[in-house]
Amino acid sequence: MISTGTRSKIEAEMERYPQKRGALLPALYLVQAEHGYVSSDTVRELAEIMGLHPVEVMEVVTFYNLFFDRPQPRHHASVCTNLPCSLRGARVLLAQLEEHVGSKVGEPTDDGRLVLGHEECLGACAFAPMMRVDDAYHEDLDLEHAKSILDALE
């Protein structure tokens, strides 16, 4: 269920665009912030609010990598593996982190705490290797530092 608070924020977003569907991306961010992912029930609800067909909303949800259509682990940790980071050992680091958390890239840990990923360039090449944990950048990483960051996640 989309809460009344989120609903009114979505409605406020819709006011800002000449066409209501223009507000779809901001609306999806709001919905995902509330639920952690966008379920098909939520898609139906959002489509209803915005006067769209559910498949139009679902097409957008599945198009973008950062919208999730199923429940997610509590944290996303993504190591950049683009060229500068790779030159600075990002791929080795990622393999070591896989071993450390006991789960491969894209496979959530058994306790649902964390999923590892790899990321294309996040524009922090000067501080390679780096990773993004949820909304925060962690730069100039080495293995011990990276492990401690992941271990500190709840």
Binding site: S40, V55, E56, M58, T62, Y64
Partner: protein
């Protein structure tokens, strides 16, 4: 009007048309000018995603897609140059990177556009070693369609069809780039009255109908032009025939009637033709009151004896005739003649009604309701009234689809009649009260014409032969008329001659008969309009 030149041919077209539309309107597309295409369909919006229809347009540095390039006056197009051929080869190669090579077990083989174009434009050797993209197989999309995601080339024809024609929007493209897939919304099914059209427009073996898949290889099928008889719309179809059996109906393009579509109910109505409840023999009720199979001649004799006895004792006025509007114009014309020759005044046509929509499905569930009206046959309610008031002793019925619809009396009320003679294709409730039942031919088994709801007279062809003795309704009436010694009935029935006689005797059908209606039919002449501004001879008045 803009004029363009394609491979040296000069074509005139209307303002705003694309190159492909101009070719299609001129009847040249894939029929003189080959511009292969996947995503473009004449009755759907332009997608421009398959890139196969690229052509060279003078003045443009790059190749243009013919489906989305609007014709400018004086445009010069080349569809046969090496550049064009190389572009097509590139597109086909790209599609084949991930398409499974399972033609031997794919039901589309033989009518697959990817197979055809790979044959025309495919390169001999694969340049990729990577495994092909794996995706879902045998996805059950709903009651009518099975989907193979691996074979899909993402032309989006099916998505646009659901958006634009039935407007139900069940299908969509989810994901992005090389991970795009066609799916239904989670928990939703592809379920609309026109769903099976997606299998026709799918250029590859991704969408197949549950009904037809794996029944027969398509190259064994012969396509015979015919008509769907499910309702009064008269959708043009191909009957897929092999070994004297109908395997499927598919829509045949007629922009004046059904464009390129047909409804699922109509499509599946081919099953009636070979149904187990077809009447394979004549039946006669014997002295003990039980209905027994009989030879055709014997049954005609029995029917004639009964009618003669009634005429002898009470006169022909107590005989009534009711026809189903499934009968052809020729059958109904003969029926009318039969009733007139008998000398009774009680006859009518019963047309069952059902659901309708604003696309193709019409409320009148009989193929020739408009034809019956044009022939001046009245409503069967008159007959029903007279049966209830006790003024009728004998009934001659063509067909039985009106039983139980309240259009005639119900079967119990007919039980009191002295004689009930039924001409029919299938077994029905009539077997409880009829005294003689004579087997007739299904619409797919006879020649003739049908008049659709818009008054368009269209050609019906005998596509298969029944495996047992069954004649068209008109022929059975002719046999019966001869047995009764009716004037003008000599027992012969030449449908072509009947059609021409009809065209001569009925002003509305003037010049419109089986041999003159052509592939697309001709509209009945409105007698009032013909007084005012009748055009000279010409099709589609």
């Amino acid at each position: 009007m803009p004029t363009l030149t394609v491979d040296g041919r000069v074509i005139e077209t209307a303002e705003g048309k694309s190159i492909l539309e101009a070719l299609d309107d001129a009847g040249l597309l894939m029929n003189g000018v080959d511009v292969p295409h996947y995503c473009w369909h004449p009755k759907l919006s332009v997608d421009g995603s398959c890139r196969l229809c690229q052509v060279e347009v003078e003045g443009f540095p790059k190749l243009q897609i013919a489906c989305n390039t609007v014709v400018q006056d004086g445009m010069v197009v080349n569809t046969t140059s090496d550049r064009v051929r190389k572009a097509r080869e590139g597109v086909v190669e790209l599609l084949l990177i991930n398409h499974p090579l399972d033609c031997p077990i794919c039901d589309q083989a033989g009518e697959c556009k990817l197979q055809d174009y790979a044959f025309d434009y495919g390169v001999e050797k694969s340049r990729t070693r990577e495994p092909r993209r794996a995706a879902k197989k045998r996805v059950d999309l709903g009651p009518t369609i099975v989907f193979d995601q691996e074979r899909c080339i993402l032309c989006r024809r099916c998505v646009r069809f659901c958006d634009e024609v039935p407007k139900t929007r069940e299908l969509a493209v989810f994901g992005r780039g090389d991970r795009s897939v066609i799916e239904t919304f989670p928990g939703m099914e592809l379920d609309n009255p026109y769903s099976m059209n997606v299998a026709d427009i799918c250029p590859v073996g991704a969408l197949t109908t549950k009904d037809f898949r794996f029944k027969i290889r398509v190259w064994f099928l012969e396509d015979v032009e015919g008509l769907c008889t499910g309702c009064a719309n008269g959708c043009n179809i191909y009957l897929g025939i092999a070994n004297n059996k109908v395997y499927r109906y598919q829509p045949r393009r007629n922009d004046d009637v059904n464009e390129t579509w047909m409804c699922d109910a109509g499509r599946l109505s081919y099953r009636d033709i070979g149904a187990p409840d077809r009447l394979q023999y004549a039946y006669v009720r014997d002295a003990t009151g039980s209905l027994e199979a009989a030879g055709y001649e014997a049954a005609i004799g029995a029917a004639a004896r009964r009618l003669r006895a009634i005429i002898g004792s009470k006169g022909a006025g107590v005989i009534a005739g009711v026809a189903s509007a499934h009968a052809t114009n020729e059958d109904l014309f003969t029926f009318r003649r039969f009733i007139e020759a008998l000398g009774t005044e009680t006859s009518g046509v019963a047309v069952p009604k059902g659901d309708a929509d604003d696309l193709l499905i019409k409320a009148e569930k009989a193929a020739n309701a408009a034809g019956a009206r044009a022939l001046g046959l009245g409503d069967a309610s008159l007959v029903a009234d007279r049966i209830r008031s006790g003024g009728i002793d004998a009934l001659v019925c063509l067909g039985s689809d009106f039983l139980g619809t309240g259009l005639l009396a119900n079967v119990e009320e007919l039980a009191g009649l002295d004689t009930v003679i039924v001409l029919d294709t299938h077994k029905s409730e009539f077997s409880r009260v009829a005294h003689v039942i004579l087997p007739t031919r299904h619409a797919a088994e006879k020649h003739g014409t049908l008049t659709n709801a818009a008054g368009r007279v269209q050609r019906l062809r005998a596509a298969v032969e029944p495996a047992y003795e069954a004649h068209p309704d008109g022929a059975v009436l002719s046999h019966l008329g001869k047995a009764l010694g009716l004037p003008g009935f000599d027992g012969s029935y030449d449908v072509r001659a009947v059609s021409k006689a009809l065209a001569e005797s009925e002003p509305a059908f003037s010049g419109i008969h089986l041999d003159s209606v052509g592939d697309r039919g001709r509209v009945l002449i409105d007698p009032d309009a013909s007084q005012r501004d009748r055009e000279p001879e010409g099709p589609n008045l």
